[in-house]
Symmetry: C2
Subunit: 530 residues, 2 copies
C-alpha cells in the first residue's frame, strides 16, 4: 500500500486532550469481510504516552473521591444516550471492522446490551448497595468497598461494544465504582473504539467529571503493556482476550501486587445425558447448532465441547448436527489472525486423533473456516486431556463420546477451569442418577452451571457469574458480567474504625439519606437508618 | 546436644492418621525465655507427605460438598469446646514456645478470641448468609459463594492460637466455607500446633466430618512449599508471616492461578495532629506506649511509625514517650530470629539517618532488644521513603517530625500499602482542616482508617478489615479478620443458571428453609422465601 492510500494518524485521548501520540510506529485495521486493510492509521504508543496517562489518572482518581455518586451515574447515563444517538454510525464502523452482522447482532443485541449495562451501572452507583456497607454499631466499626484507583482495561476482539475497553462491562464497572479508566483499544476494531472514546469524553465534559476520567490509546509494545499493568499508580486491571497475552500481563501485575481480572479461554463443556437425547433429540440438535455457530462461534461461552454416552441415539444426534454444519454457510471471522488460530487449533485436535466429521479446512480467499465438527471417544480423550482441551475459537466443536457415565465422569475430572458447564437431562427424571454422579465434578471446574440450556446467553443479571477457575480466569471469586457484582473487582475494602460521623463516606453514616442503600447493620440487611 | 537429649520425632496428621512423616530431616523449637532448645523433634516433610495430604484433601473436599452446613458448624463448636477443656495445657505450651505471657495475653485474651472466632464461624456457616445468595427470579439465575477446594494455611509466629494454621482465623474461615485445611505449623511453636491438631482431629471424629478435613505438617523445604501452593489440587492459600517468604509463595501460587491471601508486613502509620497533642498529650503518650509495647511490639498492627508536626509540644510528647520506653523493661521476643531481624531493622533505620532516642541495642544473653524509639524529620524521610519504611517488627517505633501539614501530606503520599492508618485530631475541631488535607492520602494507602485510637486492637467484627494494599497484603479487596467477610476468600462464586430446584444448594432454593439466611432477591435483601 502506498503512502497516498494511508489516512491520517488518529489521535489518542490523554489528560482531557485528543492529541498526537508520541509514537514512532502505527498500525491499520482491516475489513475482514472484504479482506482489505482500512486506511486509518493508529499510533503504537510509547511509554511516554503511558506516563502522561498514569499521572492524569492518578489526579483524576483523587478528584473522583469527592465527586458525588449521582454525578458519576449521570455520566454513565449521558454516555448511554450518546451511544444511542450515534448508533447508526457505531454499528456501521463495528460491522466494517469485525464483519459481525449489523442486524440482529450489532444493532439489536449488542448495542442495546451495552447501553443497558451502562444504565445498570449508573443505577448501582446511585443506590450505593454495590459497596456492601457493613456496620457494627456496638464497636463503631464500619466498612465498605470504595474506588481502588485507576483501572486499565484491555478489551477483546469479539465484542466491539459490550466488552469494549471504553464502553463495555469492565469499563462500566470500573467507572461506577468511582475509578478513572485507561482504555487500551482492541487492535482489530480501533475505529469503533475511537468513536466510543469521543462519545465517552463528550459525556465526561457534559457531566463535569474530571477530564482524565476516561483516556484512550490503541496499542502498546508488549514490554510497555507489562510496565503499564505493574505501575504503582494503577489500581487494578481488567483484561479479556487470548490466554497467552493475558498470562503475560498477569505475571507482570501479580509481581507488582496489582489485582488483574482476566477472562481467558474456555471450551465450555456441554453434557447431553442419554435420557435427554432420547426424549428431545431434534430440539437438542437445533439448540446446539444455533449456539455453536452464533457469531461464527466467536464467543467466550461458545460450546466447544459436547459430551455424550455412546448409543445409537447418540450417533443419530451427531449425524444430524453434522448435516446442519455441512449445510450452513460459514460466517466471516473477526480477523485473519482468528482464522489462522482456528485452523491451527483444528489441526492440533485432528492431529492428536480427533476425527473430523465435517469441515476442518479454511475457506480460500475468505476470512472463513468451514463449520467444523470433530469427534473422539472417551478413552482417547483421557489419554491426553490437555491437548483435547485446545480451544478452537470459532465455528468448531468437539464431541466426546464416552462409553459410560463413569467414563464421562472421568473426562469431567480431567478438565481444567472453564467459564461454564451445561448438563441436559431428561424431564422425566430418568437421568437424575447420572446427573448426581457427574454434576459435582463439573461444578468444581466451572463458575456457571446450566441445566437444559446452552451457555452462550450471558444475561446481565445481578446473579450472573461470568467467571471461572483458572485458566478460564485468574480467580474463581469474581465475575466480569452482572451488576453490581462485577463492580466489586474494582473496589478496595476500606474499614472506618471509630471514625467521626462527618468524615465517613455517605453510605456509612448513621442516617441512610437515600433510603435506597441496602446496608448490613449488625448482621441484618436493611435500608433503615441507625 | 547429644542424641540422648532429643525427644521422639512427632507424628504428622495425614488422611485421618497420626503417622510418621516421610522425612529425612527434623527440627526442634526453642524456649525463648530461657534461650533453650526444646527436646521434641518435628519432621521436615518430604514431597511424598504433601502428595498424600493433597490426595486426601481432594477427596475430603468432594465429600464435604454433601455435608450439611450444620454439621460443619457442630465441628467448629466442638473444637472450641475441646480448646477450652484443654486451655491450661495449651496456654502452658504456647508460653513455653513463644514467651508470650500466660496472663492476660494467652489465657485471657488470645485463647478466648480463638474460640470466639471458631464460634462466630460456626454461626456464619449455620446462617448461610456468608455465601451471599443472590437470586434473579425473572431469569431464574442464582449464585452464591461455595467451597473453593482444599486450603493450605501457613500461620505466623506471633499468635500461637488466634492465627494458628490449625485453629486461627484463616483455619476457621476456610473450614466454615466448607473446605478441608492443610495446615503448615509455624516452626516457632510446633508443640502448641500439634496439640491443637489433636483437638481439632478429635472434634472431626466426634462430629463425623471426613477424616482429612484437617491435616497437619510442621515444615517443608522452600521448594516443596512452592510446589504445594501451586498444586492443581489446591483451592486457595492463606499465609501470614514475613514478606520474603510470603512473596515467594505468592509468585508460585500466582503462576498456577491459585488465589493466595497474604498478610505481610506493615508499619501502620499513626498521625498525631497538633491540636490533639495540645489537647490531650499525656493520654496520647500513654496510648501509644501501651500500643507499641503490647506483646513486645510483635503485632502486625503495631504502630511502627508516628507522624507529627514540629512544635514545642511535639518535643515534649517525644520526650515523655522516650522516658516511658527507657523506664520499661523490654519483653522477651518470640525467637532469636525475631531478635536478629529487629536489631537489623533498627540498624538499617539508624544507618540511613534516623536518630536513636532510646534503646537501639540487643540485650545480651536474653531474647530481647531494648525498647527503641527513633526519630527523623520529614525532609530526611522524603529523601529515601523506602528505607525509612523498613519494618522493625518488635518493640520499636520511628517518629517522623514534619515541618508542616503539607510536608506531612507528602510523607503520607510516599508510603506503600499498609494495614492501618490512624489519625488523632482535636475534639474541638481545630484539626479538621488538617485532617481533610491528609486523610485522603492515607486512606488510599491503607484498608483500615482509625480516628483517635491505636491500631493494635483488631476486633473480630463483621465490619473489620484486616487487610491492605500491596505489600501489606496481596489484594486490597479482602480481609483476614472478621466473620463472615473473611470466609469469602475461600469461596468460589458459583452461578446456577436454570438449574432445577432440587439440584440447587439449599441457600438458593425458593424456600428459605432456615429463614435466617439473608439473600439478595431481585436486588433486595430479605430472609423471606420466594
Amino acid at each position: 500500500m502506498s503512502t497516498a492510500q494511508m489516512g491520517q494518524q488518529q489521535k489518542i485521548l490523554v489528560a482531557g486532550q485528543w492529541r498526537d501520540s508520541d509514537a514512532s510506529e502505527s498500525f491499520q485495521s482491516a475489513n475482514p469481510a472484504r479482506n482489505e486493510t482500512l486506511p486509518e492509521r493508529y499510533p503504537i504508543s510509547s511509554w511516554s504516552d503511558c506516563e502522561a496517562m498514569l499521572d492524569a489518572a492518578s489526579e483524576a482518581a483523587e478528584q473522583l473521591r469527592s465527586v458525588p455518586a449521582n454525578q458519576i451515574a449521570d455520566f454513565l447515563e449521558a454516555y448511554a444516550k450518546q451511544i444511542e444517538a450515534n448508533a447508526e454510525q457505531l454499528v456501521s464502523i463495528a460491522n466494517l471492522e469485525t464483519a459481525l452482522p449489523i442486524k440482529p447482532r450489532l444493532a439489536d443485541v449488542e448495542l442495546p446490551r451495552t447501553t443497558g449495562q451502562l444504565r445498570q451501572a449508573a443505577a448501582a452507583t446511585r443506590s450505593g448497595t454495590w459497596s456492601m456497607p457493613t456496620i457494627d454499631t456496638k464497636a463503631n466499626i464500619r466498612s465498605c468497598y470504595e474506588a481502588i484507583g485507576p483501572v486499565c482495561v484491555f478489551g477483546p476482539n469479539n465484542f466491539p461494544f459490550a466488552f469494549n475497553s471504553i464502553a463495555g462491562g469492565d469499563f462500566a464497572a470500573a467507572i461506577a465504582a468511582g475509578n478513572p479508566v485507561i482504555a487500551k483499544a482492541n487492535t482489530s476494531h480501533p475505529g469503533v473504539t475511537k468513536l466510543l472514546g469521543e462519545l465517552a469524553f463528550a459525556a465526561v465534559k457534559e457531566t463535569g467529571l474530571p477530564s482524565a476520567t476516561v483516556q484512550l490509546i490503541y496499542r502498546l509494545s508488549h514490554k510497555d503493556g507489562e510496565r503499564l499493568v505493574s505501575d504503582h499508580r494503577v489500581g487494578a486491571i481488567g483484561y479479556t482476550g487470548s490466554r497467552r497475552a493475558g498470562l503475560t500481563l498477569k505475571a507482570a501485575a501479580d509481581a507488582a501486587g496489582k489485582p488483574i481480572y482476566l477472562e481467558l479461554s474456555s471450551v465450555n463443556p456441554v453434557v447431553l445425558l442419554p435420557g435427554a437425547v432420547r426424549e428431545r433429540r431434534e430440539e437438542l440438535v437445533a439448540e446446539f447448532v444455533s449456539s455453536v455457530l452464533m457469531g461464527t462461534g466467536q464467543l467466550c461461552t461458545n460450546p466447544g465441547m459436547v459430551m455424550m454416552v455412546a448409543s445409537a441415539e447418540t450417533n443419530t444426534y451427531i449425524e444430524a448436527v453434522a448435516a446442519k454444519f455441512a449445510g450452513g454457510a460459514p460466517g466471516t471471522l473477526l480477523s485473519s489472525s482468528v482464522k489462522k488460530s482456528l485452523t491451527a487449533a483444528i489441526q492440533t485436535l485432528s492431529g492428536a486423533g480427533a476425527k473430523v466429521l465435517v469441515g476442518g479446512t479454511a475457506v480460500e480467499g475468505k476470512c472463513s473456516v468451514a463449520n467444523t465438527l470433530l469427534q473422539i471417544n472417551g478413552a482417547k480423550f483421557l489419554s491426553n486431556p490437555e491437548i483435547f482441551q485446545t480451544e478452537a475459537f470459532g465455528n468448531a466443536s468437539l464431541i466426546v463420546v464416552a462409553d459410560s457415565i463413569e467414563q464421562l465422569a472421568e473426562v469431567l475430572r480431567s478438565l481444567e477451569g472453564n467459564l461454564t458447564g451445561c448438563i441436559y437431562s431428561a424431564k422425566d427424571g430418568s437421568d437424575d442418577a447420572s446427573y448426581d454422579a457427574i454434576a459435582g465434578h463439573l461444578i468444581q471446574r466451572v463458575c456457571r452451571i446450566l441445566n437444559d440450556k446452552m451457555p452462550t446467553g450471558v444475561a446481565v443479571s445481578p446473579a450472573m457469574n461470568h467467571g471461572g477457575p483458572y485458566p478460564a480466569t485468574g480467580h474463581p471469586g469474581f465475575t466480569a458480567v452482572g451488576i453490581p457484582a462485577s463492580m466489586i473487582r474494582f473496589g478496595k475494602l476500606t474499614c472506618y474504625d471509630g471514625v467521626r460521623q462527618h468524615r465517613l463516606p455517605a453510605v456509612l453514616r448513621d442516617s441512610n439519606v437515600s433510603s435506597v442503600t441496602w446496608r448490613c447493620i449488625d448482621l441484618k440487611w436493611t435500608v433503615d437508618s441507625i
